[in-house]
């Protein structure tokens, strides 16, 4: 609900809401699949099934976090390029104004 509301108020892009929504849906549906999860964790050698569930949750959060870092890096680069372009345009403008006067 929070995610949908954030997207609704345009404070979160649909693109970045995807992983969070997926996480939410999985959390909602996970209790229905308890027997399946139990079997799966036994098959994978977990003695304590909740540990397996926590591991999955942890990996999911790591994924979301990693995506954020990638996005930050990209924005950082764009920010740098804009600042550089701005400085160059600013200088040219000054030069033109100086030549005019």
């Amino acid at each position: 609900m929070t995610i949908v509301s954030l997207v609704h108020h345009k404070r979160l892009d649909e693109q970045y809401a995807f992983l969070w929504l997926a996480a939410g849906v999985i959390m909602l549906l996970a209790p229905l699949a308890t027997p399946l999860l139990d079997q799966l964790s036994k098959a994978l050698g977990f003695h304590y099934p909740p540990a397996f569930v926590l591991l999955l949750a942890f990996l999911g959060l790591c994924l979301i976090n990693l995506q954020s870092s990638v996005v930050i890096s990209r924005l950082n680069k764009h920010n740098k390029q804009l600042a550089q372009r701005l400085a160059i345009i600013d200088q040219r403008l000054r030069e033109m104004e100086r030549q005019k006067s």
Binding site: Q81, A83, R85, E95, Q99
Partner: protein, 268 residues
């Protein structure tokens, strides 16, 4: 040949005027560009009144990004060679001609000023000396030539290499051994030149704020990345261009043509 001296400066109000006037007194006909890296003091205004062209970055981007801004400007304005000089007055401008000489007459892409080959009358702090030694060995190993001072920010760069750096191949913080290894992989040549480094005139060094452990980690990691990019770099250094947005910057009209920007300048 058109030469641009690029001086990246961050809060160098105390030194910038004397650095500029010293350079002008030795090289009266060269153009001087100060890249003010979001200084909070009067660096930009002082540089302007001392007669330099000034690029004002709206906020602090880091040493490498400031230098890169200067190189983008140099490429677009049709300069053939740029010289990097720090704004703190530690680099003796007398060494500039030796650097330019290498690039202009010996067809070297990068002339690197080395304080270890030259004369220096200041002692390098112990920790930094160890770091420099490590990276000088690494750089020498990977580039198959003797590099004594890979941290040097006193350089002359030709147009071809400026274009390479104006694309995405320049780190925003401190270009160092990783950058040298990258350009070697991309097929550029470099040569070290002895230069004179003096004690700092006034103010604090920009390196004080950099935690050296982080720096060593960062440098080792980016050298590793450079090694993984080896093949892409050898294919013409176009690894950055898979991102269209970064490429757009250097494909501005005239950016790739030597004559056009000059023509448009005279037209103005």
């Amino acid at each position: 040949m058109r030469i641009l001296i690029i001086i990246p400066a961050y809060n160098e109000a105390e030194n910038i005027s004397s650095v500029i006037s010293e350079v002008y007194s030795m090289y009266p006909s060269t153009d001087l560009l100060v890249v003010d890296d979001g200084s909070s003091d009067a660096t930009a205004a002082l540089a302007e009144s001392a007669g330099a062209k000034v690029l004002r970055l709206p906020f602090n981007l880091g040493y490498g990004a400031a230098v890169q801004t200067g190189m983008i400007y140099a490429v677009e304005s049709g300069y053939d060679v740029c010289v990097l000089l720090d704004g703190d007055g530690q680099m003796d401008p007398r060494s500039i001609s030796a650097l330019i000489d290498q690039v202009a007459h010996y067809r070297v892409d990068l002339a690197l000023g080395s304080r270890f080959l030259g004369t220096t009358d200041y002692t390098i702090p112990f920790g930094r000396r160890i770091g420099t030694l490590l990276f000088s060995k690494l750089t020498s190993f990977f580039t198959r030539q003797q590099v004594t001072d890979p941290t040097s920010g006193f350089q002359a760069i030709n147009r071809r290499l400026m274009k390479f750096f104006a694309r995405d191949n320049y780190p925003a913080d401190y270009p160092d051994a990783d950058t040298l290894i990258k350009l070697y992989f991309a097929g550029f040549t470099m040569r070290e030149v002895p230069v004179t480094i003096r004690p700092r005139l006034r103010g604090k060094s920009m390196h004080n704020s950099v935690s050296s452990l982080y720096y060593i980690y960062k440098m080792l990691f980016s050298i590793f990345i450079a090694l993984t990019q080896r093949r892409m770099l050898a294919d013409g250094g176009h690894h950055a261009t898979r991102n269209q947005d970064t490429d757009r910057q250097c494909q501005l009209p005239g950016a790739d043509d030597d004559r056009e920007p000059r023509a448009s300048q005279t037209a103005r």
